[in-house]
Amino acid sequence: MSVDTPDISPAPLRPTPLHSLHVDLGARMVPFAGYDMPVQYQFGVLKEHLHTRAAAGLFDISHMGQIVLRPRSGMIADAARALERLVPVDILSLPEGRQRYAFFTDASGGIIDDIMVANRGDHLLLVVNAARKADDEAQLRAEMSDVCEIERIDHALIALQGPKAERALARLAPNCAAMRFMDVREMPIMGASCVVARSGYTGEDGFEISIPADIAREIAEGLLENPDVLPIGLGARDSLRLEAGLPLYGSDIDTMTTPVEAGLAWAIQKQRRAGGVRAGGFPGSAIIIEQIEKGTKRRRVGLRPEGRAPVRAGASLFATDEGGAPIGAVTSGGFGPSIDAPIAMGYLPSELAMPGTSVFAEVRGKRLPVSVATLPFVELRYKRS
């Protein structure tokens, strides 16, 4: 049988500030976006996934980019207006201490990256994907340097996710308990000034915490002292986000997909749509706004294979069990441990995107029946109030 061996990457891999901790914990390390990252720890993907939904999981996401946009005028509205030139999202109305999901778009309406934007009072803090951070920073420098100083910060970033995340973090940072979903606050943790956001990529309640690199290991170990908290690798991070219906940049969304096709139009507020107070004015706005009004030819959908066989990224989708050309493709797929069944996401023609529609996915030369399913596959447990 074939057993996966890690890819040999030509460039030297970068360590995160928690690298030595992963090694000490016995993680299996793999190359990911230029970093040497833990894909799983001793218990493995399945148990790590289930533990996160039942208790709390600690994830090292320090490979992601953290970029500060500081308005030269000192006025946060100036930074917000400048960022709105690059994203179809209402940044100007984002209150201090709140963050919002956004994406950079290109001239054809494709997604260059999906990001989080926080209003930190005197600056905006962006969290961007690891594989995109150099390009994102270059674009921000090219397009926004007239208005903002742009600085990439090298803090560690950890996520603490799951129903016991609040209790676990509150032992070190009691103020976190008062936060609600998408709040962002600066607070001391073990004497270090950290930026805590109540958000994540699992569908669970939880936090993403930006920590000065030199104290990151100490804080991570402080959280791991709690028996409710286990370290979780990238493997379970992927299955958790798939169950939560959250797209992965580079797989489910990229420059060939628009936010409307990807089912992300909810993140484009009315201010930026047709008739809005600041309609358009972002790359690809004519295309994206027209798609919001008139719909798209294809859509991102959830998929539930009818059997037990997982249907993975790259599988072609067909309307019938034999013959015909592919009508779409799976962009993410695997097994959902919490629902104990295979699950996937992909793109289908909009007329076939209704939940319950039957299509077929080609796996190892056979067409397996799959049905279109509503996303997410699990109930989201964000703390909204």
Partner: protein, 120 residues
Amino acid sequence: MLKFTEEHEWLKLEGDVATVGVTEHATTQLGDLVFVQLPNVGAKLAKGDGAAVVESVKAASDVFAPLDGEIVEVNEVIVKDPSIVNSDPQNAGWFFKLKISDVKAFDGLMDEADYKKLVG
């Protein structure tokens, strides 16, 4: 007699029929299995042909025919409960029984000591 392949399978020979499974080392590398697909009884396979498929949460992997032969029995129990492969890979978690075309070829496979050296 127990033999091993570089593809992390074990074979136990009785007469000209080998019971085949994957090694504990393989299951550790694969992680918890969530899906197993077995060959059809009667399938004639050449050494190196894909015989079975195992899938974890993350990935799919092939189990290859370790020698030329014909499938004479499969272990449906691991299809219903793939976790048995993880918990008892070298007994209850067997995959299939292969009637070997050339029993002499069995002797050419690795013994346990050599396999242990291979996986360290």
